[in-house]
């Protein structure tokens, strides 16, 4: 490739790179910068003094932030675990070749395609304390026993976890399916000839070979679960008593409802750092696969 060719191709990268730099890279750097300042949106006359690490110091001693952190960790852990579990089952089903496979794949994709806001309203309706179908399924027509799922601190987080599992298990299934599709059929046939039964074939062929895809799904789902916002915003507004006040929602409230731009930025930088550690692992894994595939 001549130098002229290279310059031409690099030139083609300019517009996309410019958009990514302007709307993603620069804002992150700017967030870090803002987190060292005291900025209150409603009070511009206070200016924006530099306060060093004050926001971070305050954040460490903020009981609500600490609570949010643990809530988010619980949310990420439980949703990711169940999404991968259901994801494996769904992937095995939709990998199987049978006449209705296309239709089943489309069905499984529907929760993924639905806007999160719509699924949040849907679950709010299903979990309703007076006429929700979930209460009806559990307690029948005996309304006195109905549980106000979204109004109790003990069940509100559970409800949001359930809504997220429903919404994103199918995405996990697709990532795992991609792993299943590269397993050669001959392996199963050879194992069959050797007399391996279903669970032995799963344990010794499927499981070791989908582990890389599973790891990709695990990292991707973990990263994504850290960004949970829509479900908590619509279903509970972070309540009751902060029981579902996940980190991104807390950061949003500090920044845009209360107007503490500097403090909110400190929260968002902390979320960013947590996610970035996972993201680097993810990008390296996927990147290496890309290189291997291209050799």
């Amino acid at each position: 490739m001549t130098r002229k060719d290279q310059n031409f191709y690099l030139g083609l990268l300019v517009p996309a790179t410019a958009v990514l730099l302007l709307f993603i890279a620069a804002p992150i750097v700017h967030s870090i910068f803002l987190s060292f300042h005291r900025i209150i949106i409603g009070l511009p006359q206070l200016k924006t003094p530099f306060v060093g690490l004050d926001n971070y110091r305050e954040l460490l001693n903020d009981p609500v932030a600490r609570h949010s952190f643990w809530i988010t960790i619980i949310f990420v852990g439980t949703t990711t675990f169940f999404e991968l579990l259901i994801g494996i089952l769904l992937a095995l089903l939709i990998h199987h070749s049978f006449p209705g496979r296309g239709a089943l794949r489309a069905c499984v994709l529907i929760p993924w395609a639905i806007p999160t806001v719509v699924s949040a309203q849907m679950w709010r309706f299903l979990f309703n304390d007076a006429y929700g179908v979930i209460n009806y399924v559990i307690f029948g027509a005996n309304t006195s026993q109905y549980i106000p799922w979204l109004a109790l601190p003990s069940t509100a987080l559970l409800s949001i976890v359930a809504a997220d599992i429903w919404k994103t298990s199918s995405f996990a299934a697709l990532l795992i399916l991609a792993g299943l599709q590269v397993i050669p059929e001959e392996l199963y046939q050879a194992a069959k000839v050797d007399g391996a039964v279903v669970w032995q074939r799963f344990l010794h062929i499927t499981w070791p070979l989908i582990r890389p895809a599973l790891l990709v799904a695990l990292l991707f789902r973990t990263i994504d679960a850290f960004r949970v916002f829509d479900l908590a915003f619509v279903m509970t507004q972070g309540g009751p008593a902060d029981a579902t006040n996940v980190l991104q929602l807390y950061g949003y409230k500090k920044m845009f409802v209360e107007g503490w731009m500097g403090y909110g930025s400190a929260i968002s930088v902390c979320i960013f750092i947590m996610v970035m550690v996972l993201a680097i692992a993810y990008v390296r894994m996927v990147g290496r696969r890309l290189l291997e595939a291209s050799v």
Binding site: V19, L20, I28, S31, L90, V108, L177, V275, M276, A293
Partner: protein
Amino acid sequence: MMKGFLKKFLFIIGVFLAAGFSLAPFLWFVLSAFKDQTQITAIPPQWLPSFSMESFSSAVTRYGIIHYLLNSAIVAGSATVVTITLGTVAGYALARLPRRWAQIILMGILACAMFPQIAIVGPIWRFLRFMGWLNTYQGLIFPYVALTLPLAVWILALFFREMPEELEAAALVDGCTRLGSLVRVIVPLSAPGLFTAAILSFIYAWNEFFLALLIMTDPARQTMPVGIALFQGEHTIPWGEIAAASFITTAPLIFMVLLFQRRIVTGLSAGAIKG
């Protein structure tokens, strides 16, 4: 013989469980759009709707959802067009640059897709306010382009890589310019890849809520997800109208999933696994 039958039976149960898990909650919710208020809140539940269209007409006349729908279509449509244009040009360059460079750049682009939105919204909001772009279409379109570009570039770069370079060489000999050969030769041959990237970008932009909530505070500019999230009734929660609006918002997506299921499946896994 018996064992084969049992296996088949278990498999069929699995298929029905998977389909029920995916569809039942949403079907139940959407049924409310075709019921009146007393039917919606009845215990025991009324399984069969009365097919009253009241919720739809009220959602249109009293809540003006056509307006939200129009905003969504403008924002998601424009974002998709811009993303695909920029993504095509960048993806093509990445498919032709030396592998080592392309890989590093692709990894950087992928990292951009991993960032939590909260880490960028503060500065984006300040930037848009500075530009006077809060409550404007372009104020939402540009961030959406940035958020959908990474996956689009990935899909397209991997797709263009499969196109032999001899194609462009032939076009250049025939007197095409370099960009001309991209537009006239490569793009028409890559329609499936472009289409996949476009569907995924569109679904993302159509469904996005967090940025839309912050940037569009004026109801006249709000998109459908914001409208649905902030739905307010006078005394009770207007479930019929919410379900009707949800149905209208989701219908195009379900339509796409049914038609393009195969493309969506391959497109999504491209960003994660395939090389």
